[in-house]
């Protein structure tokens, strides 16, 4: 396997500035020369949303890359069109010309460096495992999907790659620490590609911790449908930590404590992410599993 054409996309969500500033920095600093032998395309995903410092204009761009939507030219809104532009530019789904995509994101949740995979192929998983071995505070978050072609993430335009989610950072700013973590993760990913391109088999642990997406949890709401609770302070910032029956999860405006009522221990992520308030989502739940790095995710 030889990976030659790579796309790195920042600002797929317009208010996540880290990716935009990093793309601008990489364009200035002869990044392409540093990775001689790889063709690296550096893209701003949603320039119009970036200009307005909003996640999206009409529709979440990173929910716009399902094959059906990409071939539906009647879909209204800026992002429906922008997804087609990006798709045509870097990777028509039926005839991919880009082998590998890293889509850069940030979150105000305490997610550290999260490698988000929606594809169970062994190459992606091994790369994620390699990154996890090199980057402190790195987690692998796997979202199983029935149809990779129909999945709406930008990085599904190519069979290889991942969405990179780094936090905590507020929307609309750049922080030096989060910027460097994002930049370092890209370097490790490209280092992995260079190694496998030259026939090396990068060493990883035999078993790797993976968080598999289960479901989202909504905030409690009042009669008018307004969120009327706050993430409980015991849960705030505890992304990837175990949550068990009886643990407080919300404090309502009426002064009540809401506890976790699932029988099994699960691991919350995207806790109190600003990006999901408009959908009333408080956090997502994952199952923590140990995966054999020789067998990969499908065997989990």
């Amino acid at each position: 396997m030889n990976i030659k054409n790579i796309a790195i996309v920042g600002g797929t969500h317009g208010n996540e500035y880290t990716g935009v500033y990093l793309i601008r920095k990489l364009r200035i600093n002869q990044f392409q020369e540093k990775w001689n032998g790889l063709n690296i395309d550096l893209l701003i995903g949603n320039p119009k949303a970036y200009e307005k410092c909003v996640r999206f204009i009409d529709h979440d761009l990173n929910r716009s890359f399902g094959k059906k939507d990409l071939t539906d030219f009647e879909l209204p809104g800026y992002e429906a069109n922008r997804a087609k532009v990006i798709s045509q530019k870097i990777d028509p789904k039926d005839s991919p010309k880009t082998d590998f995509i890293i889509d850069l994101h940030t979150t105000c949740a305490n997610m550290g460096v999260s490698i988000i995979l929606v594809n169970d192929n062994i190459y992606n998983f091994k790369m994620a495992s390699y990154i996890k071995s090199k980057i402190p505070n790195c987690h692998i978050y796997y979202i199983p999907t029935e149809s990779y072609a129909e999945h709406h993430f930008l990085n599904t335009l190519s069979p290889y790659g991942f969405a990179l989610e780094v936090g905590p950072i507020p929307n609309g700013i750049v922080r030096h620490d989060i910027f460097n973590q994002t930049s370092n993760t890209i370097d490790v990913a490209l280092e992995f590609i260079n190694m496998t391109n030259s026939g090396e088999n990068p060493e990883v642990d035999n078993a790797i911790e993976v968080f598999i997406h289960r479901k989202t949890v909504e905030f409690p709401k009042d009669k008018e449908g307004n969120i009327n609770a706050i993430i409980h302070e015991n849960l705030q910032d505890k992304d990837y930590q175990p949550l068990k029956k009886g643990d407080p999860i919300f404090s309502t405006l009426e002064g009540e404590i809401v506890t976790f009522e699932e029988d099994e221990i699960l691991h919350p992520v995207f806790i109190n992410a600003a990006a999901y308030y408009y959908k009333n989502i408080a956090f997502s739940l994952t199952e923590k599993v140990s995966v054999d790095t020789k067998k990969g995710l499908t065997k989990a």
Copy 2:
């Protein structure tokens, strides 16, 4: 002196959710009964901006309360009108019916609990000193102004009161810790009012640390006028800490380090605040002084 009519305003900036949720909570929880003897008006400042999760729709509402603007009915935009509605409701500038205003804000800068004063009257200063003695991580930030009547802050509608700025917290979310710090600060302020109303003279230290606003500092920009630097990691989160000549303040996208070049030691605040990127402002500089609590700010 007797303070009877009080207004507490949340959501003057629509994406600062803490104030909005707190106002909603106080409305539910018979807050008025708890402070029997005080008339407390609980207001949402900018409901339209809150609905859209933006700081403002057309113009910063908290820059709309100068006397001239309040009497100019030709001023366009939602906030120009909203300021007049709030002014009429709580406190016409020429015939104040509200004695005291607390205007609730948050910031993603590491500002702790900041009491922002634009009025040098001794009552406000003594209250701020009292709050500082009761609330950990509280700072007094004084912005001198030539004309209090012409000042554009909402809380200048009344002679007494302050803007409360609590952080760090991203825009568009509520955090339990920041929520509680905001709520506790309001309680201490009302406790102070109750004490002075009943003739008590609350005890404060003889001298109090105050940060006096000097000026704002802009980000470095490229030829097209785009911000092309990041707050240096040594400065990030160091609000209210001393900054001296030679300290790194920016890291540019070209890879250069920009250092602080003032000869005197100053104390930055609002470092890397998302709210000010649209104005290219990186941080503000203050001078730290010790103020005699008997003499107040005018004697500083």
